[in-house]
Structures are given as C-alpha cells and as structure tokens.
Amino acid sequence: MLHLEAVFFKVLSEEMKKTLFDKVWDSHVVKHVEDGPDVLFIDRHLVHEVTSPVAFLGIKNRGISVLYPERTFATADHNTPTINQHLPVQDPLSANQLKALEENSKKYGISHWGLGHQKNGIVHVVGPEYGITQPGATIVCGDSHTSTHGAFGAIAFGIGTSEVEMVLASQCIMQPKPKKMRINVNGKLNFGVSPKDVALYIISRLTTSGATGYFVEYSGDVFRDMSMEGRMTVCNLSIEMGARGGMIAPDEKTFEYVKGREFTPKGAAWDKAMTYWKTLFTDKDAEFDKEIYFDASDIEPMITYGTNPGMGIGISKSIPKAEQVEGGVSTYKKSLGYMAFNEGEDMIGKPIDFVFIGSCTNGRIEDFRAFTSIIKGRKKAANVTAWLVPGSHQVEAAIKAEGLLDIIHEAGFELREPGCSACLAMNDDKVPAGKLAVSTSNRNFEGRQGPGSRTLLASPLVAAAAAVTGKVTDPRELMKEFA
C-alpha cells in the first residue's frame, strides 16, 4: 500500500512538472504511433491561396471531403496586389489561385475572406484580430510564420501542402513531438530597442539552424513587459532560427487582447476557457532540453548585412570578418558577394533605395506607430521608394483613426492596401535587381524581395530612419528629443 502511494505521488509530481508546450501538445494527442509520430489534433487551420490548391485537389482526387470545415479559415494574401484592389487582378496566374481559394472555400463551406472582404489581410494578422487565435489552441497553416500565433500561448507552426491536405481530411497531422528550448531574456531593453531587435539579436546569436528540432518558449522580463504585438513579432521570427515555433505563456495582457473578439468564447464559455487558460504556464522545475539566457542590456537596434536572418549585427557595428564567423567561410563570402558588401565595413551610412514596412512580422498598428513617430515632421528622402503596407484592413482602419495617415501623407509617403506584398514579392511589389531595401519583413534570402534584390532586415524604427535619410541610419539619432 505504501509502495502504491509512493508510485502515485511520483506520477503526480511528474505530471505537475510540465512545460507550457507539454501541456498544450499532450492534450491534443489523439494517439501515438509506435516508433513514429503523434497524431495531433488541430483546433484551427488557416489557409491561403498559394499552399492550399493542391491540397484541395488531393482530397477531391481521393474522393473525401473536409471533415470539420468550421475549423478552417481562408484568407487571400500572398498574391494580392496592394493597389487598386477593387479592380480585377491583372496577373492571370494569381487570379487563378485566388479563384481556386474562393471556389474551394465555397464548395466545402469554409469561411473565406477574399480580396475586398472587410476582414481580408495577412493570415497571421487577421487570425489574432478576429480571435481565431486563442491560448492553448493548436493552430497550423501552410506558411512557416504561423509561429506568430504562439504569442498567445498557442502551439502554432507552419506545415507543407501534404499536411494541409491531412488537416482538411482529418483535422489532424502526424508529427513527432519536438524537443523543448527556453530562451530567457531578462533586464530592461535599451532606448530605441524594439521587439524586432530582440528577435534579430537572438537569431544572430543562435544562427538560422540553432533551434532546429526544438519548440521554443520565450520567458523573462523582456517578454513579460512586451505588448501583444511585440510578442507576435518575436514568435513570428522563431522559424528563422530553425525552431518549429515559439510561444509565450498567456497572461492578463493576453486575455485582455483576446476578450470580446468575434471568434472568442462568450459568457459561460469564456469563464470556462479562462479557467483553463490560467493553467497554461511552465511549471516550476519543469525541464527543457536546452535553456538559453540573454541580457536585455546587450541588445541594440539591429540590422542584417547578409543573405539569411542570422547574419545580423547591432546597427553601430561593422560587418564581421570571415575568420570571425563559424564554419562555412565560402558560403559567407558568397553571401557578402551577393550583397556587394565587404568584410569590416560599417552599415551606417550605406545609401538605400527601398523601404518596406509591412508583413506578418511588422505590419500591425504598433509598427505603424513606431514608423510615424520618426517620420513625423520630416520628409521622405528623394532617393527612396517606400511601400507602406498594412497587415490587414483593421490595421489600415486604425492607421486612419489614429491620425497616422496624415503624418504619412505630410511626410510624402503613401499607404497601400493590405497583403504580404514585398515580404515575398509574389505580386508586383518587387525590389529590382541590385537595389538595396530596408525591410521590416522576415527574410533576406537572395532574391526574396524580387530577383537580384538585396535586403536589410530591421525594425520599423530603423526602416523609418532610413526612409527619411536615404541611408542606413541609427534611429536613436532621430529620437534624441524623446531620450
């Protein structure tokens, strides 16, 4: 009897030591396949026009239907033009994908927020806006930055088209459970340092493969103090260090954000949900496979200089020499060759051609507030083409309601219509070959913003400073009056 009790207590105490990730993952496992993956139940599935058509075709060819259409939400974003959205889409291939999404949604009874729909916007921006994104949920989408939704304490990650087909057919995917990593950033952020800088700093320290195989939890003062928008920016970029996703334990800020949105529970269902959501934190003494610590005071405004998001430095620093980087010297030199930069050069002062504010990384209202805080009372530099693209119609409306549009116009900029735009340059928003862009998006890969384009990833503050000076500029120089 005594022995049994001991066993019971052992089980109990082990159960009590779960990470946030364990709690959400384990409660969604339908079954474990021996010597294989888990069958993971997906609460909410987001689809867009680019990675879904072949999946819809797949279920059609198999003669099966969508199992739970009310759990899938469709929006058009990757291909959509960001001007004249009321006119027919010019590119026939894009138009064809948009039409396929509309028809498939209709056929299977999926809510569809197509071009021109009031709720239309980038999939990872509209999900949280309408309360599709909730704490403790499992969320997938055929786009790697699905990790954004982890900001709410959800398990959210990008999947391939075969998996989109699985979710349509069965509301499940088959995934081995990833390892767990916790990244702690404690202390207070310096003046002019934003969530984007925190993420770029972490990626520069971990490299683009440093978290491959892991699911990350962000923890510490810096994330606790961060707005929901900032948390989304950080979780969004988890994939850029190779992680499957990143998440932050929900708190009062999270609940406040979620409350009252269209798809969040109401009344008694809300109370019940809150009871559950309040259990979503990592237990004391729960174990991670890897734990990493950074100090907030070490972070300054960041900028990238190479062709992957891990090639980032503090904006006041110079480009590292090849012998200072680990391994892959020839790849490193190839990368600098593509950027037409030299080892040891300063980033500050480099003339730039384009500025892009937008994407699911930095296309939310807070990002436009940051951008306008710098351009206010200044003028767009003559040598700069700027694309200001809100993440959704809701963001667009807020920009207008808060008076930011006037600031934008007075400074000589224009606001475009929502979409992914120059984040991946599938529409006409392409940076021409050889041109240098400061971009608030998430990837600086070769040609990501158009064939031959060169990208510097940075925060909205850094992008704003570049937009008004025409060159890479430390935003703190322009923010002195606030210091």
């Binding site: 079954k31 075969s162 391994g327 040609g447």
Partner: protein, 198 residues
C-alpha cells in the same frame, strides 16, 4: 498523393556544397502560382540556374553535364526558410529521389518524407567524403539503402548509417502516405473532437 516505393537507390550524385540553401533558392516565390502539382522541376534553383534572359548559367552544377543522378548532396542546413512544399516537389520533379546533407531544416525534411524524397542526414565528415569523391570522379556511385538505413560510397566502400523513424520508413518502403493512415483512424479522431470544443 501516394508515391513510388523507395528501397535501394544506387546512383551518381549532384554536389551542391553550399550551406543554408533556403527554399527561396530551391524554388523562388514567383513560381508558386500553379494550382496543380506540375512542372516545378523546370524552376528548381531558378535564379542560380538561369540568367535574367533565361539563358543557363554555365557555372551552376545543374547546367554542368559532368554531374547527374538521382541524388542531390547539399551543404549544411539544407532547406531552411519557407514551408513551401513546392521546394520538395521541385526536387522530386527534377528527378531527384534522395537528398543527402549533414543537417536539414525541419519542415523541408518533413515535406520530403511526405512526398517520397528520402532526406538522408549524415555526419559532416561523411558529407565531406562524398563531396571529395565526387570531385575526384563525378561518376562515383552512391548507394542509399533504406531497409538497412545505410549510405555507401561504392568506390571506397565507406559506409554510414542514417536515422528514420519506423513509421516513416514503412511508408517510404510501401509508398503509403499519412492520409491513408489518418483516414483509417477517423473514428478515433471524431471521438476526440467531441471533447475539443472550437
């Protein structure tokens, strides 16, 4: 979509010893506009393979007749970036059935397994040996043996084993995919869903 079975593949290999090859290089976004899974091989490594006027870039390995085969050997952290399965489709459609690297990005690796391309992760040393042997003799054959989970450089007999979980291995050997499995356990899923409110 079920695919061809994979057992033992013996082939020459195409070397691409570049690190962090991202899926935007494997297939640039502007070629993702199809609504069917067709013709992606033509645009595999599009911007490394062709000039702006669509003429082939002579120094890129896919344009070099010296190298051919059904195995692509890539540098470390192959397939990072976007989740686009189109990257794996392009690799498959071009004619590769296996990618060897010393490290793969997660989503790309999973996508490959889902469509019948075998990702084989080897040690950095072994990857270097393969690159060296191919450089010495582009006709060098590599044997990828799925049942035994080994990869062998036939010229030297050097061999290394690789990992794959039993379930995925079975799928590859039989040409099954996950949807076949999931449709079979639908009853359990429906039961589970009852307790999982939206």
């Amino acid at each position: 979509m079920a695919y061809d079975k994979f057992e033992i593949l013996t082939s020459t290999a195409v070397p691409l010893p570049i690190e962090n090859v991202d899926t935007d290089q494997i297939i640039p976004a502007r070629f993702l506009k199809a609504t069917e899974r067709k013709g992606f091989g033509d645009n595999l490594f599009r911007d490394w393979r062709y000039n702006n006027d669509d003429s082939p870039k002579k120094d890129f390995v896919l344009n070099d007749n010296t190298y051919s085969g059904k195995i692509l050997v890539g540098g470390r952290n192959f397939g990072s970036g976007s989740s686009r399965e189109h990257a794996a489709w392009a690799v498959y459609d071009y004619g590769f059935r296996c990618v060897i690297s010393s490290f793969f990005a997660d989503i790309f690796k999973g996508n490959c397994l889902n469509i019948g391309v075998l990702p084989v992760q080897v040690s950095a040393d072994f990857a270097n040996k393969i690159f060296t042997e191919i450089e010495k003799n582009p006709q060098t054959k590599i044997e990828v043996n799925l049942p035994n989970q080994t990869v062998t450089i036939l010229a030297t007999g050097e061999k290394e084993s690789f990992e794959i979980n039993g379930y995925k291995k079975d799928n590859m050997l039989n040409g099954f995919d996950d949807i076949d499995y999931l449709v079979n356990v639908k009853k359990e899923i429906v039961e589970f869903a009852k307790n999982t409110p939206l």
